[in-house]
């Protein structure tokens, strides 16, 4: 997978860019605050049609403007994805090869990329929300139907919680069925993925230089059996009185966690900063391999200033793994050339200043 052309209008501090990208990718240099990260965020917007950093669409519109646009040509023009957003009507328009898509989920993952950033450590060190988001993004891109189920689960959950806040058990119960059927699929997909990839996560963490054994485990109320749907229905029924007291649904995939541990000790609480950083990189590599397997070719790699914070040994180890897993297009952003590994410098340089890009 590669991005061959990129058009940006009024996205964050990027006013107007029309860029051609070589197959190998580019090295993006520029001081902080000039627009490097925004450029990577714009590229990733074409993957998910949402901000990689979790920002709201209206926050992505350049100051003083009313709309933004990002368009990308992929694989040398084999297909084209466009996304536009207008603040006034809060309207988002996505099109594939010029045809508007009615459901955003139909266009999600047409362009595939993996983004490495220092803030990824937050996935390991932060609250469960970030780890659920990691799983959800990854599975939305890798598994057809996952995003649609996730969206159904979320809307059912919102309605059920509103009913619980109104103190109406009968109304809440009416939403058990859509919540359970969508939620069961979400739960199954997540547990299946974690089981399948936990050993690989351990192997990658070791390959990155970590001596203790790393594992991931999906933490849920009850691991799904053959009939996850009726199991979830039972779970909802048994928690109903508690849910009514609290005014929210207290059990379900929306409360689960992806537990990451080193030698049985949770990385979130007991990991050192270095161990958490290593685990975060391993998560991104596992993500890259999953996407590569589902799409049949490696995703685009976006590196936002990730090499500088690694010591020489870990940097070399990471480069080896990247060479294997992500041999395709790489967009490598850093403030200075000296912070980019030598082996990645064989790409054209772009300099970003004040939202403008010079080759």
């Amino acid at each position: 997978m590669e991005l061959s052309g990129l058009t940006i209008r009024n996205f964050r501090n990027l006013a107007s860019l029309d860029l051609e990208l070589p197959s190998a990718g580019v090295v993006v240099l520029g001081d902080n605050g000039q627009g490097k990260t925004n450029l990577l965020e714009a590229m990733y917007y074409l993957v998910l049609f949402r901000s990689l950093r979790g920002a709201k669409d209206r926050e992505l519109v350049r100051f003083g403007e009313e709309a933004f646009f990002v368009g990308g040509r992929a694989n040398g023009g084999a297909f084209e994805v466009r996304a536009g957003y207008e603040s006034a009507g809060r309207r988002k328009k996505i099109s594939l090869d010029g045809n508007p898509v009615t459901r955003i989920s139909d266009a999600v993952g047409k362009i595939l990329a993996v983004s490495f950033a220092p803030s990824d450590r937050g996935i390991v060190a932060g609250p469960a929300t970030g780890r659920r988001r990691y799983l959800d993004v990854l599975l939305s891109l890798a598994e057809p139907g996952y995003l649609a189920r996730l969206t159904e689960m979320r809307s059912a959950l919102k309605q059920r919680n509103a009913a619980l806040r109104r103190g109406r058990g009968d109304e809440a119960r009416a939403f058990d069925e859509p919540l359970a059927s969508a939620g069961a699929r979400v739960l199954e997909a997540r547990t299946r993925w974690v089981e399948r990839w936990s050993p690989r996560f351990g192997a990658l963490t070791a390959a990155l230089g970590e001596r203790a054994e790393a594992r991931m485990r999906y933490r849920t109320h009850r691991p799904p059996t053959a009939d996850a749907r009726s199991q979830f229905l039972d779970l909802l029924a048994s928690h109903e009185s508690r849910d009514l007291r609290r005014g929210m649904t207290t059990a379900g995939p929306h409360r689960d966690d992806l537990e990451l541990s080193l030698e049985g000790r949770e990385l979130r609480m007991y990991g050192s900063a270095g161990q958490q950083r290593t685990a975060a990189i391993a998560l991104r590599l596992v993500e890259a391999e999953t996407l590569r397997d589902s799409a049949g070719s490696p995703p685009i790699a976006l590196y936002d200033d990730v090499f500088a914070e690694l010591d020489e040994d870990r940097q070399a180890r990471l480069l080896n793994l990247i060479h294997e897993t992500l041999p395709g297009q790489a967009i490598v952003a850093a403030p200075r050339e000296s912070e980019v590994p030598a082996s990645m410098l064989d790409r054209p340089r772009w300099r970003v200043k004040g939202g403008r890009v010079a080759a």
Partner: protein
């Protein structure tokens, strides 16, 4: 507030009409002959004065019972449950349905504060239970999550009333192209596939 602004404010409350369009409509009306604008005003008045909900089915009508409930040629044993009165128009356009209707007045949506008591579910149970000879209730709420939940709720409420409850089929549009159908619709169509015999 000037009368112009006042009218624009009222028009802007209509669905799909923003402040700009509302203002444009007002200026458009002001350019029309007075008689034509008065006809519009009279039509609006007539609608608000004479249209009300049918006491049997909830359809919006000038006569009570409405034209469908009063029509002797229709099969009163077959009731089609819809969310809004406007859905009746859509079903009538098919020319295929000869039963009567029941308008719920929306769907369950706790987020909007709409519960079962805010829908005409009680009056449906009353119709089914009062010996009017209803054999089958067709639930034709929208194929949205809320529409499905409402359908299931209606189904549950009708339990034990000795009436057959059916749900309209969901799937691919006729004359459509499989290639252009979205994934959710195709998944629904697959799970509701029918046996072709043989």
């Amino acid at each position: 507030m000037s009368v112009i602004a006042e009218l624009a404010t009222e028009l802007a409350k209509l669905p799909g009409i923003g402040r700009k369009t509302a203002t444009r409509l007002v200026y458009h009306l002001l350019k029309q002959p007075a008689a034509s604008v008065e006809r519009l005003a009279l039509a609006l008045q007539a609608v608000t004065r004479s249209v009300r909900a049918c006491s049997t089915c909830g359809n919006l009508t000038e006569q009570d019972p409405c034209e469908f409930c009063a029509d002797q040629r229709r099969d009163a044993g077959l009731v089609c449950v819809v969310e809004e009165a406007s859905d009746i128009d859509a079903i009538e356009r098919s020319g295929e349905y000869r039963g009567v209707y029941h308008v719920l007045g929306g769907h369950l949506s706790p987020l909007d504060g709409i519960g079962p008591d805010d829908l005409r579910i009680g009056s449906l149970l009353h119709r089914v239970g009062n010996g009017a000879g209803i054999r089958e209730v067709i639930v034709a709420t929208n194929p949205s999550m809320e529409g499905e939940v409402t359908a299931t709720y209606v189904r549950g409420a009708l339990d034990g009333h000795g009436v057959k409850v059916t749900r309209i089929a969901l799937g691919l549009p006729v004359g459509g192209d499989l290639e252009y159908a979205d994934g959710v619709t195709i998944a629904r169509a697959l799970s509701a596939r029918r046996d072709m015999g043989g």
